[in-house]
Each structure stands twice: as C-alpha cells, then as structure tokens.
C-alpha cells in the first residue's frame, strides 16, 4: 500500500512537475513533515493548557479587592492583547532572550536555558491568555450576583466561592468564546516560524525552498493538516460543552 502511494505520487510528478508531493515519496522529507507535526502539536497542547490556566488565574485576580493586583492584570491584558503576536515572538526571543541565563558548551555559544520553542510557548500562551482572561471575565459577570451572595451567606470565602461556585458556572458560559480563541491559538503557532521554531510551516517552507516544485503540494498539505488539527480541537470542545451542560440552567 505504501509503495503504491509512493509510486502514485512519483507518477504524478512525472506528468505534472508542478505537483511534486515530495513528502509522499521521499522518506527524508516525510520525516521533516512528521517532525514539524510533532512540534506543532506540542506547541498547541502546551499553549492551550497554559493560556487557559493564565485565563483562570487572571480572571480571578481581576475581581480581586486588591487594586494593585487588578491593575497588574489590566496592564498585562493591554500589553499582550494589543500587540501583534509576531512582534511578541521576536521581542521575547531576541530582546528578552538576552537576559535569561545561558550556558556555554564551547566557550562561544551561549545556549539560553529557554530555547526558541520555550519562548514560543511562553509568548503564545501569554498572548492567548490575555484574551482568555477577558473571556472568563465575561463568563464570571454572567453569574448572577445573588448566586454569589448565597455562597457568601453559606460561609464560603472569596476564593472558595470562585473555585466551587462562580468558576464552574462561568466556565460553561465562556466555552464558545474560549473555543474561538483556542482555535486561533493553534493557528497562531505557525508564527513561531519567525524565531525558527521547527513547526509545521517552518518544515514546509524548508521543503518548498529545497524543492520549488513542491510548493503547491506543501501549501495544500498545510491546509489539510490545520483543518484536521483544528477540527479535532473544535470537535472535542463541542463534546465538552455538551457534557457540561446543566439541565435547566441558562435555558
């Protein structure tokens, strides 16, 4: 079967030199695609998890009685939401990268503790996290004040109210918007190309630079893979949304 696929795309290349699906008949290029896919997957999963955590903590801090904490969160949102992720990546990697500790294996190289993949995860998580804070805020504001008061009357502290009452309700309301933002996040991982993170697009750009005839097939593959990746995310988020529905609540 594999040999059949290989031969098919080789034949295709013979008749249509512009459609060289090289990664289907050259093992080295296939490895590049697989490698890129894994990096993209790691980036996506790590960024989704961290950005959601940032969103949860940030939304809680936003409602804090402490004014300083509130303004810190506000500053964070303004900074990360209002600047392009592309610029953030470059800034984090090149500018901040100067100040992180490094080690030197050979006397010249200064290998930073945080690699470019690390910076991409940090930068993209903070970027999407800023949106998530606002998304969760909208959910929290949708929880009726009386519910919160009822929790207080039962003797819950602010943190307990947040964890056990407000957040579980708010989370359900936030899910559709969160869904949107996470889809965006997965797509934004392609911008890590700017700091040479070997993710999917980086590998495909490399492939079509090495083999100009593979440009259209590479772009096609990129589309297909992202449709698949985002599709899986959207599907599971929808399932989750359904599973979390409380009968009678909000209907």
């Amino acid at each position: 079967m594999i040999e059949f696929i290989r031969q098919f795309f080789l034949d295709l290349y013979e008749v249509a030199p512009r459609w060289n699906f090289i990664f289907f008949h050259d093992p080295t290029q296939w490895e590049r695609v697989v490698e890129g896919f894994w990096v993209t997957l790691q980036l996506s999963v790590a960024c989704v998890i961290f950005s959601v955590l940032i969103g949860i903590v940030g939304a809680w801090a936003q409602g804090s009685p402490n004014r300083i904490l509130r303004s810190v969160v506000q500053g964070y949102i303004q900074f990360f939401r209002n600047t392009p992720p592309f610029v953030q990546l470059l800034f984090f990697y090149f500018a901040l990268g100067q100040f992180t500790p490094t080690y030197s294996p050979d006397g010249w190289l200064e290998v930073p503790i945080i690699s470019n993949v690390g910076w991409a995860i940090i930068s993209l998580s903070f970027f999407a996290g800023a949106f998530n804070v606002e998304i969760f805020r909208s959910g929290i504001e949708a929880v009726p004040g009386s519910t919160r008061e009822a929790a207080e009357a039962l003797g819950f502290s602010r943190l307990q109210t947040y964890i056990y009452i407000v957040f579980p309700l708010a989370f359900r309301v936030s899910l559709p918007a969160l869904n949107n933002n996470l889809v965006n996040l997965v797509k934004t991982t392609t911008q890590a190309l700017a700091i040479a993170v070997p993710e999917l697009l980086y590998q495909f750009v490399g492939i079509w630079n090495d083999y100009p005839s593979a440009m259209y097939p590479s772009l096609t593959m990129v589309f297909v893979i992202y449709i698949g990746l985002v599709g899986i995310l959207v599907f599971s988020m929808h399932r989750w949304e359904k599973a979390m529905r409380i009968p009678g609540y909000g209907q």
Binding site: F4, F8, R18, G107, Y202, W208, N209
Partner: protein, 276 residues
C-alpha cells in the same frame, strides 16, 4: 490502474505543464513591448547586488543589469523587490517579466522558471564565524547550531553533508542577529555576500574561515514558456554579450565586488577570435 489514476489526477492539476508544451506565443515579449515597460524582480536586501541606497532607491549590480536589459529593448524599467522564497512564483504568475535576483541555477528550479543560459555569475557556500572559535574545516559544524536563511539551497547540503543543525530564519537580519547573540556558531551563506559584509567593517571579530563549496552559477530567468522563444533568446544573447565584452566585470568593479575567476574565464572563453 496506477497509470490511469496518475493521469487523471495529473489532468486535473496540470494546467501549468500544458502551457509549457504550447508553441511560442511570446506573450511576455509582446506585453513588455506594447506597454513600453519591463517589470523586473530584483533583490532589495542583498548588498551589493540589489539593495536600497540612503534615499531608498534600489541600486546594485543586478539593478544595473535590469536597466541595461530594458534599455536594450528600448523600454522603461520597473523594479519589484522579491524574496528568495517567492521570486519564482512572482515570475510564474506574471507579476514580473524578468527575474535577476541572485538565483542559483538548480535543476529543480529549471522546471519552474526559464533560467537563461549562459549564467552570469557564480557564488559558493561558506560561513561567517567568530574568529574566537577558529573553525578550520566544514566538519567543525557537525551537531552545532548554524544560522541560515530560509530559501537557501545549501541549508539542506550542510545539514546532510556535515550534520550541522541549521536554524533557518525568515531574513538575513534575524540570522545575523542570532549569530551576534551567540545563538549559533556560524552563519551559512553565499561567500560573495559574506565577503562584502566582512569588508563593511561591522564584523571585525568575524571571519570566513572555510573553503567555499558548491560553487553554483547564477541565472536570470524569464517565464518558462518564453525560455526558447523571443524573450528567452534575447536575454540569452544579452547575457552572452555581457560576458563576452566584459560588461559584467565592469559592473563587478563598480560595485566593489571581489573579482571572480568565473567572469574572467568566461571572457577568455568567449574571446573574439579575430582579436589578437
């Protein structure tokens, strides 16, 4: 069965290859002549072949070539800056009529664009690395991070041949910054370009320590369908003349490029047999 499948799939997608099989229509030539202007794709970030001077104008050796080509056709010239990673598509899609953009003449590229013979220049692969490291041979790059630029064909070669870990950035500026930041031990690029960087005085702590490899001629390109037609033949003749009469050597001097034996050899080979 295999053949049928391949053929049917190919027929769906092979519009480009059908165009190349057609007779000479000379579309590009006619288009250039009728509008009195030739659109040429050139580099804007590759000193001294194509770059912006202080007032923002595109200048350089290849810009001179573009202007000379337009002059020879008696038309005006419009310069369009292109990148290594998109220049072939610009030409293929008719956004430019001619491409003179430091492009190495590679077999796979000839299938996409009409690379005109004879080649007009050449460059090899080398690295810029800190003097402090004292690299002496290509093998020193093995398993070490080496900065590069996306779109360069030798990224693949140094990876496969010497096991270097190429970190390819979108632009030269990022790649060179990463070298300065000590994120890699060397920057792999064209020897001619590294040479002009080193002589700029901004890279005093760096050197070009290896012997250049994969000397690869550069070609200017016309749309593939025009290669064996009027436009391609015209540019072929022009390239030949530039090599034969030493025009390229003069441009090389004008732009302060280190003289290459390639141009001298070509001039010698194409020498007029009546000249004694």
């Amino acid at each position: 069965m295999k053949k049928v499948l391949a053929l049917s799939a190919a027929m769906l997608m092979a519009s480009a290859s059908i165009a190349t099989a057609a007779q000479c229509t000379n579309d590009t030539w006619k288009k250039v002549m009728s509008r009195g202007k030739m659109v040429v794709g050139v580099k804007a970030d590759y000193k001294p072949w194509g770059f912006r001077d202080e007032s923002g104008n595109l200048v350089g050796m290849e810009i001179d070539m573009a202007k000379a080509a337009a002059d020879a056709m008696g038309v005006e010239v419009e310069l369009v800056p292109v990148q290594s990673s998109n220049r072939m598509q610009f030409l293929e899609q008719g956004k430019i009529d001619l491409m003179i953009a430091t492009m190495s003449d590679r077999p796979d590229r000839r299938k996409i664009v009409g690379i005109v013979q004879p080649n007009y220049y050449t460059s090899g692969t080398n690295v810029m690395s800190p003097k402090a490291l004292g690299l002496t041979k290509w093998e020193d790059l093995r398993d070490k991070p080496v900065c590069g630029k996306q779109g360069a064909f030798y990224n693949k070669i140094v990876t496969e041949r010497y096991g270097a870990k190429v970190i390819a950035f979108t632009g030269n500026a990022e790649a060179k910054q990463a070298l300065r930041d000590k994120k890699c031990i060397a920057w792999v690029y064209d020897d001619s370009s590294i040479g002009s960087d080193l002589s700029s005085g901004n890279w005093d702590d760096f050197e070009m320590p290896l012997s250049s490899e994969d000397d690869n001629p550069w070609g200017l390109a016309v749309p593939l369908a025009e290669k064996d037609c009027v436009f391609g033949n015209f540019m072929s003749g022009l390239s030949y003349n530039w090599l034969q009469n030493g025009q390229l050597i003069e441009w090389e001097k004008k732009w302060g490029i280190k003289a290459t034996s390639f141009l001298a050899d070509k001039k010698e080979r194409f020498k007029d047999w009546l000249d004694k």
